[in-house]
């Protein structure tokens, strides 16, 4: 069909409802509102933070006697002893690095296993029915109860710590991925059925892209959990390089509360970091097509 014929038929884009694009347009009057927006997101948690620090000082100086102050040393002392003293700082950062390695290796393995299991379960109801109860059990078994067992079986080293991480991080990845894969609209499935798409095509071109936001939500939760898993592993398995979990225990035993707080701070920072990182990756991968108004990273 020629362009002339089309024009004659009056199929002219300029008179269509093309004017009603409501896409990512209205960002023009940004500058000012962006600053205001930043303030409105940063200010509330900042206020809470200041209040928290004030409360901390109050407890240290007003409620605790001089002799009891080691229970909650004031913030600046924590800062001086652990951040400005390079020996302490190096010790903590080394331990943190070891823990990070365990957490990331564990998370990577959990991602591979978790996504594969979810895909398998999405392929057949009977696979889901056979495996899902065990995934739930994996989640509900108290991790502290099986840690010694893992130690017996796999020795008390890096490998065991990673296994603890995997166990603790696996469930959210499985459930979120499975939910994402299964929440595709029936009409979308019909569409693929009409065009005789294979199971594999359906998975790759429909289910996985659809599940991507849910998958990353799972990764994000599991990233935080894998840090916890790594610390718990450290705490119990005392061979190999000391991680932050072991350091926590050492500081506790020696009543070194400034260092204890610093170690706590850094391990929280690690959890926060991986949580935020996966949130960001998920956001970057899907922001061009998702309606993400009001969503936080």
């Amino acid at each position: 069909m020629s362009i002339e014929a089309r024009r004659e038929a009056g199929l002219d884009p300029t008179r269509s409802d093309a004017g009603t694009v409501n896409g990512p347009g209205p960002e023009k009057p940004a500058r000012r509102s962006r600053v205001a927006g930043l303030m409105s997101t940063v200010a509330p948690p900042l206020v809470v933070f200041i209040a928290f620090i004030a409360f901390w000082y109050a407890v240290s100086y007003l409620f605790l006697e001089e002799t009891q102050r080691f229970l909650l040393p004031p913030p600046h002392e924590v800062f001086i002893v652990s951040f400005l003293d390079t020996v302490n700082l190096t010790e903590i950062l080394n331990a943190l690095f070891s823990t990070t390695q365990v957490a990331l290796v564990g998370l990577a393995i959990a991602i591979v296993i978790g996504v594969s299991f979810a895909v398998l379960m999405s392929l057949g109801k009977w696979v889901e029915r056979s495996l899902y109860p065990y995934a739930v059990i994996l989640q509900t078994v108290p991790i502290l109860a099986i840690v010694p067992l893992i130690g017996f079986w796999f020795d008390f080293n890096f490998r065991s710590r990673v296994i603890v991480c995997v166990i603790i991080a696996l469930f959210p990845i499985i459930t979120n991925t499975l939910f994402g894969l299964q929440s595709v609209d029936q009409q979308m499935h019909d569409l693929f059925t009409l065009h005789k798409a294979s199971r594999w095509t359906r998975l790759l071109k429909l289910q996985l892209p659809h599940a991507l936001p849910a998958i990353f939500a799972g990764f994000r939760i599991s990233a935080g959990l894998s840090v916890i898993g790594a610390i718990v592993g450290d705490f119990f398995f005392r061979q190999g390089e000391p991680g932050i979990g072991r350091l926590l225990d050492v500081y506790r035993a020696g009543l070194q509360s400034e260092q204890l707080f610093a170690a706590l701070f850094f391990s929280s920072l690690l959890g926060l970091g991986v949580f935020w990182f996966f949130g960001l990756i998920g956001h970057l991968l899907t922001r061009h097509w998702r309606d993400t108004a009001g969503q936080q990273v």
Binding site: M1, I3, A5, R6, A9, G10, L11, D12, P13, S16, D17, A18, T20, V21, N22, G23, P24, D185, Q187, M188, D190, L191, F192, T193, L194, H195, K196, A197, T201, K205, L206, P209, H210, L212, T286, H288, W289, R290, D291
Partner: protein
């Protein structure tokens, strides 16, 4: 007379739960004919199309139809939100293994045809309801289907957009040669678009009336205000109502 592109012969559908959705439906659609089906909601109109496409085959009687290259437009545009307009339009070609260059060429042609030139790189979230529907239409047009099944495609749109899309659909009918079954709950839309209007009863859906629409193509928007148009619409509405009481 040329062979029909689709023929229902005493076709019926009983769902697994025992619901009688459709009962003893017989009709055919000739090449380039547009048949509209109106009926109260829940009467099994959509089920007819699912039977025709074998998404949910008839449980009695038969439906004869070539399932190769069937155009099927749902009430929702059913676009993949992670694909831009161009890649959404190319989807069916991709599923059917059409070579890449061929696919791109087809897509370009139909995108022009539905008036979406310049929007190829837009994602569905940036499009209005009417524009999404055009993309959905364009996607099916890439297959050059001899038969289109429309399942209340403009039901969710506002009236102005809907009437405009009705006009554009008529122009497409004139340009591309395809037959169509058009499901709608709007009598006006049915009369305006079709050669023939079939009326369905409430569940279990049966055909209870058939009206020829005598107006010539091309039709203009003014047709909607002609006395003959109003009279025919009135008769069809009457047939619909008589079954509801």
């Amino acid at each position: 007379m040329k062979a029909p592109v689709i023929e229902f012969r005493h076709a019926g559908k009983v769902f697994d739960d025992g619901t009688h959705a459709v009962e003893d439906v017989s009709f055919q659609v000739g090449p380039e004919e547009i048949v509209a089906i109106v009926g109260p909601s829940g009467c099994g109109k959509s089920t007819l199309l699912r039977m025709a496409s074998e998404l949910s085959p008839a449980t009695s009687g038969e439906v004869e139809c070539s399932h190769e290259r069937l155009g099927y437009v749902f009430q929702d545009a059913t676009l993949l939100p992670w694909r831009n307009v161009q890649r959404n339009v190319e989807l069916f070609g991709e599923l059917r293994g059409t070579p890449k260059e061929e696919r791109a060429r087809q897509a370009q042609e139909v995108i022009d045809l539905v008036g979406l030139k310049g929007f190829e790189r837009h994602y569905p979230k940036a499009l209005s309801g009417g524009m999404k529907m055009r993309v959905s239409l364009a996607r099916s047009l890439t297959m050059k289907p001899p038969l289109f099944l429309f399942d209340e495609p403009f039901g969710a749109l506002d009236e102005i957009t809907r009437e405009r899309l009705n006009d554009e659909l008529l122009k497409l009918f004139a340009i591309e040669d395809f037959a169509a079954i058009f499901i709608t709950h709007s009598v006006n839309e049915a009369v305006y678009l079709s050669n023939r209007v079939l009326v369905m009863s409430p569940r279990p859906g049966r055909l209870i009336g058939e009206f020829n629409v005598p107006f010539d193509f091309p039709r203009s928007a003014e047709l909607r205000f002609e006395p003959d148009f109003a009279r025919l619409s009135g008769e069809i509405s009457h047939a619909l109502r008589s079954e509801l009481t």
